[in-house]
């Protein structure tokens, strides 16, 4: 089954030193690569989710008592913000598939702004916690809260950088109907970052 694509390799540009000259193979390799990368990210967060389960089972009362300190309104707003950003990034991909460059740029800018908005809200949430004397070392619940939302925040930041780089490329008109692999790849990564939050929100803010 894997024999048909590599044929394109030899057919495309023999003698040129490139891993694979054929765009079709590049695209497929990139797709498989990003899915594998997302799998490693799932396992990275998986360690923390496991920790959450372990300590939730061990200290149900602590989780009950602590979750009331979290700001449900800000958490919900942030959830909406991230879902919107997933939508804009998806619209961007749909746009470039039809060759609409301007629309792609607009969508990328919106996505990055929404991501920044998420981080700003997160910043206010965290400072509010610190003001109330709640720190990562306070107890296991807040250790988990700060570790998991913190690691997720770092991923949002990384996603902003990646999308920013794609925006620069889009500004140079690098993408078209036929070639937009980086847009799709970064879009997939962004969906993953959103999805992590979709799990974090109920685990910390909703179930006590």
């Amino acid at each position: 089954m894997g024999t048909s694509e590599p044929k394109a390799v030899s057919g495309a540009n023999p003698g040129e030193h490139a891993a694979h000259a054929s765009p079709a193979v590049t695209y497929e390799a990139a797709k498989l690569g990003i899915w594998t990368f997302i799998a490693t990210e799932v396992l990275l967060f998986g360690g923390l989710f496991t920790t959450y389960i372990v300590f939730r089972t061990k200290f149900p009362h602590m989780f009950h008592a602590d979750y009331v300190h979290l700001n449900r309104v800000l958490g919900a707003v942030n959830t909406v913000v991230l879902i919107c950003s997933s939508l804009t990034v998806a619209l961007g991909i749909a746009a470039i598939r039809k060759g609409k460059q301007g629309m792609l740029r607009l969508c990328l800018v919106l996505t990055i702004l929404l991501a920044a908005g998420f981080l700003v809200i997160k910043y206010f949430e965290w400072t509010e916690k610190f003001a109330h004397g709640l720190y990562p070392g306070t107890d296991v619940f807040f250790s988990l809260y700060f570790m998991m939302t913190g690691l997720h925040g770092l991923h949002v930041l990384a996603g902003m950088l990646v999308l920013g780089a794609v925006l620069v490329l889009a500004g140079q008109g690098r993408f078209s109907e036929s070639y937009h692999t980086p847009v799709e790849i970064s879009g997939l990564y962004w969906h993953f970052v959103d999805l992590v939050w979709i799990y974090l929100f109920p685990l910390f803010y909703l179930i006590g």
Binding site: P6, V9, K58, V140, M147, L151
Partner: protein, 546 residues
């Protein structure tokens, strides 16, 4: 049919001109910025071999200290530092990356008929992330770690040593390992030459494929573990601290969830090398291709389910102990399948004993020995007796040094002519092998006896009754060091004054032997079209080789 082209290439290209192939371009920056998988492979290989020598020096110092039962030569703290450095350097900077990132980088594209890996830039990035990790780890030596390479909490969370910095260093090294594994997975899936189906590529590729899966799946977990450990020290996060309601055993679970599967990151590529070397020097097709291929996947899979065997005395439930013990025995099955198939390959072959074959046979012998002693440790009753004794030390040195290291050496001697374009001295190679083999067994066989007699591992001072065997073991370590010294003299000599290598010095049939030594930058002038598996060896007489 492939063989004829191989010889043809050999005759036309590596005559008197002796082209330098991918090594043609000179200069520092041509290495720093290189996207060539072969150069990146060499960078990894040189780096990891350097750390092998460094880790070896630590080992020799440990053995010198253990000549005497009391507190001589080094302080007890210094001894703790030494065995921690030895373990950490050998594991994280040598034996995990050496074969996959070194030989794997160099030979995966060559063996599957590709011009490079799928993501050459990520490949280069992985090397520099690795170097960054090394620098951070070295920076932590200001307050050197004394926790042992396992970093068990709560001690690692409290010690004055710079575990925080070290954790970030290991995180970076792990990231590099993930990037490499990811790259190889995609490369093997997407970049195979036309006609190279899953049952036509060499078994080294199967080994590397299974290895990459483990690297991608297990490494993130140790990444988060070390992050949590660092957070514990920086912000007082208390997941592993009983005083804060945390659980030190949780750390052990996380740590071994990575660190057991990672022993297969070490051993599977070595097994892949053995599967290449044995048929070439037996002049027989590999026996049980599919069994060897699938057993690699089986090892990778079952290997994820046995981590608890490191924790039989850590206070897990009896049920968990029994399950982990059973699964540990179970993982021996696919390993044994490989060993039997290698032996069946050699059966009635016309075997010659060049240095790669000597190391391959050593691998089979020592690894089987190491594996069988693992049975003592996997069984619950004997584990209690042997746990944390020198028996464990001897066991994993037989599997890791006797296994992985010998596999690496088999691969280095086998592929050296291809990588450098120069032959090694066979005489020096055999001398090095003999001393290594004798030295290794003298050093570590005695440790089985020491351990079963009750000598604890990691103790700086030990009861005087163990001194005679410790002296034997230390003497063995010097023989071993002499063997490795000769080996490295041979490597360096080979680099500068070795005879120019033909394209296929061992008459191998896999694709790398069909291109000149060293290979040109783009590997293949034309991507080969594969119609058969690469193990169609026939005996020497009918082959007309000798």
């Amino acid at each position: 049919m492939k063989d004829t082209t191989a010889d043809g290439v050999a005759l036309t290209v590596s005559g008197d001109a002796h082209p330098r192939g991918y090594l043609e371009e000179k200069g520092f920056w041509s290495w720093v910025y290189t996207l060539d998988h072969k150069r990146i492979g060499l960078l990894y290989l040189y780096t990891t071999l350097f750390f092998f020598l460094l880790g070896g020096i630590f080992a020799l110092l440990i053995r010198i200290k253990l000549l005497y039962p009391g507190q001589q030569i080094f302080s007890d703290h210094m001894y703790n530092v030494l065995f921690t450095l030895h373990g950490s350097v050998m594991i994280f900077l040598f034996i995990i990356p050496a074969i996959p990132s070194g030989l794997g980088n160099f030979f995966i594209p060559l063996l599957i008929g590709a011009r490079d890996v799928a993501f050459p830039r990520i490949n280069l990035a992985s090397y520099w992330v690795f170097v960054a990790g090394i620098l951070v780890i070295l920076a932590s030596l200001v307050r050197p770690m004394d926790t042992g390479w396992t970093f068990y909490t709560p001690y690692s969370a409290k010690t004055a040593a710079d575990v925080t910095l070290l954790s970030f260093g290991i995180f970076l090294v792990g990231m590099s390992s993930i990037l490499t594994g990811l790259n190889f997975l995609v490369t093997i899936h997407k970049l195979r030459a036309p006609g190279m189906t899953w049952h036509r590529f060499p078994l080294f590729i199967w080994g590397m494929y299974a290895t990459s899966i483990i690297q991608v799946v297990a490494t993130p977990v140790v990444g988060i573990t070390f992050l949590l450990l660092a957070m514990e020290r920086l912000f007082g996060v208390g997941f592993f601290d009983p005083a804060k309601g945390g659980d030190p055993v949780l750390f052990q679970h996380f740590f071994w969830f990575y660190s057991h599967p990672v022993v297969y990151v070490m051993i599977l590529p070595a097994m892949g090398i053995i599967s290449e070397v044995i048929p070439v020097f037996s002049r027989k097709p590999i026996f049980g291709y599919r069994a060897i291929a699938y057993s690699s996947l089986a090892i990778a899979f079952i290997g994820f389910l046995v981590w608890g065997h490191h924790m039989f005395v850590s206070g897990m439930s009896k049920t968990a102990n029994i399950i982990f013990s059973f699964l540990t025995f179970f993982v021996a099955v696919p390993t044994a399948i490989k060993v039997f198939n290698w032996i069946a390959t050699m059966y009635k072959g016309s075997i010659t004993f060049e240095s790669p074959m000597l190391y391959a046979l050593t691998f089979i012998f020592l690894f089987t020995f190491g594996g069988l002693t693992g049975m003592f440790l996997g069984a619950l009753a004997t584990n209690v007796h042997a746990h944390d004794t020198y028996f464990v030390v001897a066991h994993f040195h037989y599997t890791m040094m006797g296994g992985t290291m010998m596999g690496l050496l088999a691969g280095l001697h086998y592929w050296w002519p291809k990588m450098t374009g120069r032959m090694l001295s066979e005489k020096l190679a055999r001398a090095g092998w003999l001393l290594t083999f004798i030295g290794f067994n003298v050093t570590f066989l005695t440790q089985f006896f020491l351990g079963y007699g009750g000598m604890p591992r990691r103790w700086a001072e030990y009861p005087a009754q163990f001194q005679p065997l410790n002296i034997v073991s230390t003497a063995g370590s010097w023989i071993l060091a002499a063997g490795i010294l000769i080996m490295f003299v041979n490597f360096i000599r080979g680099l500068y004054t070795g005879e120019p290598a033909p394209a296929s010095p061992w008459k191998g049939l896999t694709l790398e032997w069909q291109v000149p030594s060293p290979p040109p930058t783009e590997n293949f002038e034309e991507i080969p079209h594969i119609t058969n598996w690469p193990y169609g060896y026939t005996k020497r007489k009918t082959d007309g080789y000798e």
